[in-house]
Every structure is written in C-alpha cells, then in structure tokens.
C-alpha cells in the first residue's frame, strides 16, 4: 500500500489546536471554564445574580462595540445613555411618595415596566441624535475628549437636576417587569428577561454587522475619506450607528434600574464608562463574541477577587481596576485587537 507521504507530512506539520500561540482559544477556554466552575462552586443564587450583572454589562459592551470596534469612534461617554435609560425608567415607573421622606418631590408616574421601557429606549435615542449631530465632525483623540465631556455633563445632570432626579438621594421603588398580571419578582425570572433582551441586542448587532450597512461602517473605520469618495454620506452612517448603540445602552439602563429598583448618580460616573471601554477593548474590537467574553471576564474578575484571602472586601473594586489597567497596558503593547478581536486599534 503506497503511503501518501505528502498528506502525512501535512498532517504532522499542521499546528495543533492547543498550541500555545492560540490566544483566542485559550481566552475562550479560560474565561468560560472559570465562569462555569465558579458558578457551580458558589451555587444557584450566586450564578443568577452574576449572570444578571453579566447580561447588563454585555448589552452595554455589545452596543459600545458597534461604535468603537466597527465604526472606529472611541467613545468614552456611553454611560450617559445608560443613565438616561435608567433615569427614564425610574421616573416613569416609580410610584414612591417622597413627601414622607421630607426630601424634594419629583414627578413619578407609576407606569408598568413594559410601558416605560420603549419610552426610555426612545429617549436615549433622541438624546443620541442631538449629541451625535454635534459629535459627528470629531475624530480620533478629539472624539475621546468630547465623549468624556458628554459623560461628565450627563452625570452632572443626574446629580444636579434635582426637580427631576432627586440628585444624590436617588429614586426608589422602580417597578419590576410584569407580564399580564404576572410580576417577575424572582431573580431567576428577571435573569431570563435580561438574557432575552441580551439575545435580542446580539441578534440586532449581528444583523447590522453582517449587512451592507455594517460593511460601510467598517469602511468608515478603515478609511473615511475613501468611502466618502464612493458617495456614501458617512456622517449619516455614523449618526445611525451611534443612535442605535445609544438605544441599546438605554435598554441596558432601563433593565439595570428595574433590577436594582433603586438608582442614584453614583452608578453613572465617568469611571463606569472607562471600565466599559476597557471591557470592549479587553474582549476584542469588532467582534460581538468578544464583547460577551469581555463582559464575562470583567464580572468574573470582580467575583474572583472577592475570594482572595489577602484582599479586604472594600478594596475589591479597586483591585479589579488595577488589574484592568495593567491588562489594558499589556494588551496595547502585545495585542492591540484585544483577546479575540478582529480590529487593531
């Protein structure tokens, strides 16, 4: 029997799948198995909470990746839309009576969750249209600066526009979702709802990035002038993806508000926005899966650090920030596209 030596040689020369150089594979394996092992170890209640946090961060990360990864606009102001969604949901659906608390009374409407949700999303989108029209002319590092500005302005509005947001007191008793008289009070029901919304967001994003619209966005990222020469109005495309992304962030905000049932401006500080950007870059630019992976890694990083024996609990958030900062530096040095990314910054 004649042995086909060339085929055997090819087989031997092929790089094994578990080669050390395959960072994508290892990132997936490590993060997913870490998450699975952790959830199994800590039990169901923990898994549900962590997964809900993950779902909210993942919606945010996927939506931001549309802007940062696919369109190439490094926006650090996404938390503003997150906050707008959350505050819209809070004001529309809360029915707390603040007069008893002797603090400023604000208008609350007591709407059900599913009536307030579209309004929150649309409101975030409307704000995004205004902001996007103003921001469209900026690029690269100036874009970063003005998006910082948007985040700071949004935070100050939440903190200081007291007749509407009660400032630092925050808003209580935000409604839980309710489907035909069945209130989703349990944590598990809410998790299912959040995952459904995450799936919707991922589907929409996937639809966008595989369509001709998505290809134009990628072209804008690679060379805006070149695609303009072909007759595309890049300003409109950039505005469109900005608004879509902001609406997704508004959705995440509304979910977040309803989940915690209490919000105050501290959830929407500039730092959260920076953390969000680092999730997107960590996971990988211009991949939806990368954003999901990044969000999972981010959530798991914090939960993992809770169990470090030498780290006091109050420093967990800070320690995570240190690790993320160092990771960002290392990624920029050795792997500018992030763990599983397609686009090098």
């Amino acid at each position: 029997m004649a042995l086909n030596t060339q085929a055997v040689g090819n087989l031997l020369r092929r790089r094994p799948r578990f080669a050390r150089g395959n960072i994508e594979l290892w990132a997936n394996l490590v993060i997913l198995s870490w998450a699975a092992a952790f959830m199994l170890w800590q039990g169901v209640g923990f898994a549900i909470t962590v997964s809900t946090v993950f779902a909210i961060w993942a919606i945010l990360a996927v939506s931001l990746n549309l802007v940062v990864g696919y369109t190439g606009l490094l926006s650090v102001g996404h938390v503003g839309f997150f906050g707008i969604g959350a505050y819209a949901m809070a004001i529309l659906s809360s029915d707390a009576s603040y007069e008893q608390l002797r603090t400023e009374a604000i208008p609350t409407f007591g709407w059900p969750f599913f009536a307030a949700l579209p309004i929150s999303v649309v409101l975030a989108g409307l704000v995004a249209i205004v902001v996007g029209v103003a921001f469209n002319r900026f690029r690269d590092d100036i874009y970063v600066l003005v998006s910082f500005g948007f985040a700071v302005i949004a935070f100050n509005l939440f903190l200081n526009w007291r007749p509407l947001t009660r400032g630092a007191f925050g808003i209580h008793e935000i409604a839980r979702p309710e489907i035909g008289g069945w209130t989703l009070n349990g944590a598990f029901e809410f998790l299912v709802l959040a995952l459904v919304f995450l799936a919707i967001v991922v589907l929409i994003s996937w639809f966008i990035v595989t369509s001709s619209f998505g290809r134009v966005l990628t072209a804008i990222r690679e060379d805006e002038q070149a695609i303009e020469v072909f007759g595309y109005q890049t300003a409109h495309y950039k505005l469109a993806i900005w608004v879509i992304s902001a609406m997704m962030a508004g959705l995440a905000g509304a979910l977040f508000g309803s989940w915690t049932s209490f919000i105050d401006p501290n959830s929407f500080v500039l730092l959260e926005s920076i953390l969000l950007v680092s999730i997107v870059i960590l996971g990988g630019l211009a991949t939806i899966w990368g954003s999901l992976l990044g969000a999972m890694a981010f959530v798991m990083l914090e939960e993992g650090m809770r169990f470090l024996p030498f780290l006091p609990t109050e420093y967990v958030g800070q320690a995570r920030q240190v690790v993320l900062g160092v990771l960002l530096v290392l990624l920029m040095l050795f792997r500018p596209q992030g763990l599983v990314g397609k686009f090098r910054l």
Partner: protein, 461 residues
C-alpha cells in the same frame, strides 16, 4: 431598499442644517451670552470683581495644567492620560509626606511598599541618566564590570537616600537639608561665576577660586536654615512630590511609551494604554488613602486680603504667581535654550530631528518629566485650595485639556490664556446658576469651541 438604507434615509433629513448657518448661529449666541455677562458686570461691579478673584486662582491651576499638557502634547502628539494621575500623585504625595504630623497622625499612611516602589523608580531614573550621560564616554576606558559598579554605586546611594526620606517624613527638613545646601551652593556658584565672567571679560581667573567658599558658605547657611525650620517640611514635601510625579512620568516614558510608540499605528493605542495607567494609579491611590476627600495641611497665606471691596486669600495670589512664573520659565526654556529648540524640532518632525542628531528619547523623556511636574504642582495648589480625592486627577486632566483647547492646542501663550479664561468662564457662568454646574459649563464651552473654533483663541504658530 434594505432596512439599513431606510434608517439612513430617515436620519439624513435631520441633518440638513448648513455649516455656515450653524456657525453664524453659534457666533450670535456666544456674543449674546458675552454681552449678557458684560451687562451683569456693569450692573454690579463689586460682585464681578469678587467672581474674578475667585476665578483667577482656579484659572491659575488650569493654566499650569494646560502649560504642561501643551508642552507634552505638542512634542509627542498623543494624549498622555497619566498626566491626570500625576496631578493626583502630586497632591497625595504632599499628604503622604505630611500625614504623620498632621491631624494628630490620624491618617498616617506611611507604607514600606510605597516607599520602596518610589525609591526604586527614582533609582531607575538616576541609573538611566547616568547611562545616557556617561556610558558612551567611559565605555572605552573601563571594563564592563567596573562600569557597572561605577553606575550601581551612585544609583544605589540615591535609592537608599530616597527611601530614607520617604520612610522618615517627620524629619524631612533634616534629611533634605544637605541636598538643599549642595544645590543652593551649586546654583550660587554658577550664577557668581557667570556674573564674574561677564564683568571681567574673562580676565582674572584666580577670582573664581574665591567664589567657591562664598558659594559653599551660602549653601551651608541655607541648608542649616532649612534644617532648623520645621515649617519648611510642607514646602519640601511639595518639591519631593513634584519630583516623584515627574520621575514616574519619565520612567513610564522610557520604560513603556518608547516601545509602544514604535509599534503604535494610531495615537489611540497610546491613549488607551495611558488610560489603563490612569485607572491603575487612581485605584492604587484609593486603596492606600481611601476614597474619602482629605484636606491638605494649612499652607501660608490663609489671611484674606481685601482689594477694592473684594476678598482674595494670600495663597491664591501665590497660586497666580506660580502660574505666571511657570509660564515665563517654560517660555525661556523653549525659546532661549538649545533644549527648547530640540523640543520644538521634535514637535515639528521627530524623524528628521533624529536624523540631524538630536537624542529624541532623552529630550522627550525630559519633556515628560517637566510636564508631569507642572501637573503635580497644579494638583498641589488645587489641593491646598479645596481638598484632595483620588478621582481629582481625571477631572483636573480634563480641565487642563479643555483649557489648552480654548487657548489653542500646542501654543504656550494659548495655554496660559486658556487656563485663566476657563477659570473665569466657570466663575461667570455660574452667576445665575448654582456652583455645581461648573463642570457642565466648562464641557459645554469645550464642545462649542471644538465645533466652531477648533483652532482656539491663539492658533498654533
């Protein structure tokens, strides 16, 4: 027609405002706002003067930030966000060095880890400086091992000395007095010798020998004076913490940014990397000092001066003076010295500067050192004026950034004008509003400027 095209078509109708119409609108609105403020100033000049006195010291802090920021940005052309961390490091450095004696030692935060890290950074910077200066000259004379020993001795000495200083902040003045004495003596000798050479037209060399004891005596007296005045500890702390922030910046540039800039395709890589550094340093500061705001010890000039019915603290006048002096010093450095010429050449074209023989790595590293010192000084001044908290760095960085945009990015005159202008705009902007809207006003001003006057008040060259 696909869904995407439909969406784009619908949105395109919202964008029909023509460019020149919006610019005219912006000019009109800005003029109206300025006219309204001028009208208010005419209505109540006393209050306006008070606002100006409130705005000037804040503007001085912003001007310092903008100066350093402009210096660094117009040399390397990327936004170094470590700059914000430098401001926080400067302020917290003063707190760190004074925490034993101050507020009854309640917030005493001397930790071995921090001391060793900073001593190592300073030792590294010294090692680098020695290497850059002497290695190529001495390489042919000594064997490598001897050379290594020659370098390691002063490096180790400086590191240990720095560690001693950081570990014993309550005797800062005694520990630092030799350094003060030697540097005063050196500066005095240099100045005397220069004056002598100018007056005697190079004749009379023997007189220079007589200058040595004079300078040494002056240095010894200054060192003694510092050693016996415990009040000097705070101001020595300012100097040490500025130097440390600068040393960290230099180390970051030499140890990290140099390699990163070789690979980086876009300035965003550098920006994201320095964002990571800012995140990490802010978090470390929070871990060491806690998130709560802290006061800095009382500096001089807490007495209030009343000028034409408006009040200003002596310290605030000092802050304005520091900003002006920093501006003058930077101007002299950039326009009158060979170093300044090199810096401007690198800002114009780094590759060509390398070709003509400028050691760009060294020059840029020194620029980073100076820039971070400005940031640290601004952080210290603002910390004495208000309070310090870990996240002050990011906000100060952004304010310095805004000030340099208002003044015109890459222009030193613009930086100082922009800084004071931003301080004034914040003060006069909140005339009819509450004080908490300051940040919103400055960022709205930023967006307006970038949209309609991206060149700033004074365009670059």
């Amino acid at each position: 027609m696909s869904l995407a095209q439909l969406k784009v078509a619908a949105l395109s109708s919202a964008l029909r405002i023509q460019e020149h119409h919006s610019r005219a609108l912006a000019t009109t609105l800005t003029t109206a706002v300025v006219a309204y403020v001028i009208w208010k100033i005419v209505q109540s000049p006393e209050q306006a003067l008070q606002f100006a006195f409130n705005g000037l010291p804040v503007g001085a802090v912003y001007a310092l930030l903008a100066l350093g920021f402009t210096l660094v940005y117009s040399t390397v052309w990327f936004f170094d966000l470590y700059y914000g961390a430098a401001a926080a490091l400067g302020a917290y450095g003063v707190f760190y060095l004074r925490s034993q004696d101050f507020l009854g030692g309640r917030y005493d935060v001397n930790s071995h880890f921090v001391n060793i890290v900073f001593a190592a950074v300073v030792a590294g910077v010294v090692a680098w400086a020695l290497h850059e200066n002497f290695h190529s000259r001495l390489r042919s004379r000594f064997r490598p091992k001897v050379l290594l020993a020659l370098g390691a001795l002063p490096t180790g000495a400086v590191g240990v000395y720095m560690w001693l200083v950081l570990a014993n902040p309550s005797s800062l003045n005694a520990l630092l007095s030799p350094v003060i004495g030697v540097s005063v003596a050196a500066v005095a000798f240099w100045a005397l010798q220069r004056a002598h050479r100018r007056l005697s037209f190079g004749r009379g060399r023997s007189a220079i020998v007589a200058l040595v004891p004079a300078a040494a005596a002056l240095g010894a007296y200054c060192g003694f004076l510092v050693a016996v005045t415990p009040e000097s500890k705070l101001y020595l702390g300012w100097g040490v913490s500025c130097l440390l922030a600068g040393a960290v910046s230099l180390a970051l540039y030499r140890g990290l940014y140099v390699y990163m800039r070789l690979r980086a395709k876009s300035p965003l890589i550098m920006l994201v990397a320095s964002l990571g550094i800012l995140l990490a340093i802010t978090a470390i500061i929070t871990i060491i000092f806690r998130a709560a705001p802290r006061p800095l010890p009382e500096a001089f000039g807490s007495d209030v001066w009343t000028i034409a019915g408006a009040n200003i603290k002596g310290f605030n006048v000092f802050a304005i003076g520091v900003a002006l002096a920093g501006f003058a010093g930077l101007l002299v450095l950039l326009k009158r010295t060979a170093f300044g010429t090199a810096v401007r050449a690198i800002g114009d074209d780094e590759e060509v500067s390398k070709v003509v023989g400028i050691n760009t790595t060294v020059v840029v590293a020194v620029v980073f050192f100076i820039g971070a010192m400005f940031a640290a000084l601004a952080g210290i001044l603002s910390g004495h004026d208000t309070a310090i908290q870990p996240r002050m760095g990011l906000l100060l960085l952004l304010k310095g950034w805004i000030a340099s945009v208002i003044g015109g990015i890459g222009n030193l005159h613009g930086a100082i004008i922009g800084g004071f202008a931003l301080g004034m705009i914040e003060q006069f902007g909140i005339w009819d509003l509450a004080g908490e809207w300051k940040d919103v006003i400055s960022f709205v001003v930023l967006i307006v400027f970038l949209s309609f006057w991206p060149q700033g008040l004074l365009p670059r060259r």
